[in-house]
Symmetry: C2
């Protein structure tokens, strides 16, 4: 055996995440490693919390990154908030709602499903009916931005309904944070998790979470210990909590945290509102282009994520062939369909740093060339021109 | 709020981990992010498995890094192997055995303790007595290299005993892997976990694990689903398994994996045996130096880890004062005592890249200067000279 250093190709990342990483973030990641209890590191952790509070628009003290990818952030919310026997409404309109159900069951809870068609937003009417007929439900969980379909749900309304029926809420904001408004305090979200590698444009591996006082109150009244030692918030907060004295829990992923810190500094510099507008602008340009190519969105216009564009694959066009050619000939990654939408859709991400004019025009030009080459009847340059006009 | 980029100081890391990271690894970490299903990334994953098999000295197919720190690697072993009601012998001789007990309980298992004094190796005689008197025990778990005390246990003998009584074994090799022999196949270890940030000298955040067929057999016969979705090996292996087709489970921490790959390439280049010898050589030099300073080791000579030197703090010397001065005046981190040894010991790491002559002499010189300054009666230059001689 003799294996040499790995030198990855330089791709353009327009899938469902990871998205293109700002070179500033990659450089930050390579800064010298220091100890997880170093006073300088603890100062960085305090800044991180403040930066995450800004990103989540919250004053929640319990705001920090879980030291593992978004799936672990999801699990952190469920294992801490669900006790054995708890009834939990899970609204599912794509892959990730299904994963929430798995998490409830494995935490000993009972799932009350509210199922919606994939590609549609979660239906508040169905949620309220289910809340009415299940007065003993403790929690409502839903995905704000479904990464598998590109559908955006109305988090504000869903949280209001949950509260009306005395339920706490767990919200998946993996794909929404930084790309569209996520107003934790204004909407009253009780527990929320996200991922580093979507609209924050950081490298994957961390999951920002935030919990409000009502959520912490439920956790403090648990009768059973949290089943996960690694994700037990009571223990994690001994390390991420307040004050200069921090108790060792686990060894923090130091350099990954440098990267997330830098990503959040970049977000702060741009400003949340400006970032949201940029995501919308590039989405509209891409939309004009894909319309010119004859592709259709899965999600309705008013339920559509600007940062994740899920579009139908034209009839007679083979999914894998196109994605392979994009990767091999253009070093461009777009996403395959997931779950029920596999083989039927593409997911074109315009997340964070990747949400820019160059990427939009490059991707449309590449798609146009490949589809034409495969026999599609497309007027030359039509997609790129349409998108360009949208910027004018 | 306006927070700027974080620029960490350049420290020398001689604590219990993270250890000094080879600049090659930091550079690898900053290479361009690619997708977690990119064919090039999958090729890298295959190499990673091969490199980890070498590090663990195993042919186990189920050998891969968990996408989270060592504590999650520990949890991965316990939640997959322990079923509700299973009796598990946990040998505790320091902090991390205690954490194992927590993991057993939270997985629904019943702990049968074998407790040894902190600083001593796990006693095989006690283990055998406990095995004899508990014929229904399913698993034996112990820490190979106790990071809290610097004690090395005889993993080969402990595993043999466990197997004699038809138990499977879970071994914590967080601090041992790469620093002293860890021979998974030769010793017959069934499940093992480690950490990236100790003798592999990578950044923290990943936990290499390996499971043999007997362990996989127990997992496949589980009656209860694994309580953690994120750590469920059946799901994880859909992504880390064999063949070109990988199922998405979670988004892998791409850049952290580049770093671990590079760390393992470096280990392969040096060779395991050479790395073990280097750790021993530098330990002997440090030992000569600390003896000259009048410090004593907690662990007996034949149970002592070369990579983690836990020594007593001289009477009348304040722990925190010394460590703060080392950090502030020398940019040098050594470890505090943990648990029962807090305030009474220092932990001087010589792990991976940090196990070198410069670090040994620098640390001894710094300690000598500070202790002398605090009134200790030490002959000038005695520690550095003693260590230097050990290299001659």
């Amino acid at each position: 055996m003799s294996i040499s250093s790995f030198h990855p190709p330089q791709r353009t990342l327009m899938g469902p995440g990871p998205s293109d990483v700002n070179p500033r973030i990659l450089e930050a990641m390579s800064r010298p490693t220091i100890g997880h209890l170093d006073p300088e590191f603890i100062r960085m952790m305090d800044e991180m919390k403040e930066l995450l509070q800004y990103a989540f628009q919250t004053k929640n003290k319990m705001t920090m990154p879980v030291s593992a990818p978004g799936s672990a952030g999801m699990e952190c919310c469920f294992v801490n908030l669900v006790e054995p026997g708890d009834k939990v409404i899970v609204c599912q309109n794509g892959v990730f709602g299904g994963r929430m159900k798995e998490n409830v069951t494995r935490s000993g809870g009972v799932v009350i499903p509210v199922d919606d068609e994939w590609g549609k937003a979660v239906d508040p009417v169905k949620l309220e009916e289910t809340l009415k007929s299940n007065p003993d439900v403790k929690l409502v969980a839903f995905v704000h931005a479904e990464t598998s379909t590109g559908a955006l749900s109305d988090a504000k309304t869903l949280v209001e309904l949950a509260h009306k029926y005395n339920c706490l809420t767990i919200v998946d904001a993996v794909t929404s944070l930084g790309g569209v408004p996520v107003l934790v305090d204004e909407w009253g979200i009780d527990a929320i998790y996200s991922g580093s590698q979507k609209c924050l444009s950081c490298t994957p591996g961390l999951s920002p979470v935030s919990f409000n006082d009502a959520a912490l109150e439920k956790i403090s009244q648990r009768k059973h210990p949290v089943q996960s030692w690694f994700l037990d918030l009571n223990l994690v907060m001994g390390y991420w909590g307040e004050g200069a004295k921090r108790a060792y829990h686990h060894t923090a992923p130091i350099n990954a945290l440098y990267a997330l810190h830098e990503a959040l500094v970049i977000l702060q510099e741009e400003g949340l509102e400006t970032a949201w507008k940029r995501h919308q602008l590039n989405h509209l340009a891409l939309r004009a282009g894909v319309a010119a190519l004859g592709l259709e969105f899965i999600a309705k216009e008013d339920e559509r994520l600007p940062q994740l564009n899920t579009v139908t694959i034209p009839q007679g066009i083979d999914d894998a062939t196109v994605r392979n050619r994009l990767l091999q000939d253009y070093n461009l990654e777009i996403g395959a369909g997931l779950g029920a939408l596999a083989g039927k859709t593409w997911r074109i991400g315009l997340m964070g740093h990747a949400s820019n004019k160059t990427n939009v025009l490059f991707c449309l030009g590449a798609l146009e060339a490949i589809l034409t080459d495969m026999g599609a009847d497309i007027k030359s340059g039509v997609a790129v021109k349409a998108a360009s006009s949208a910027y004018a």
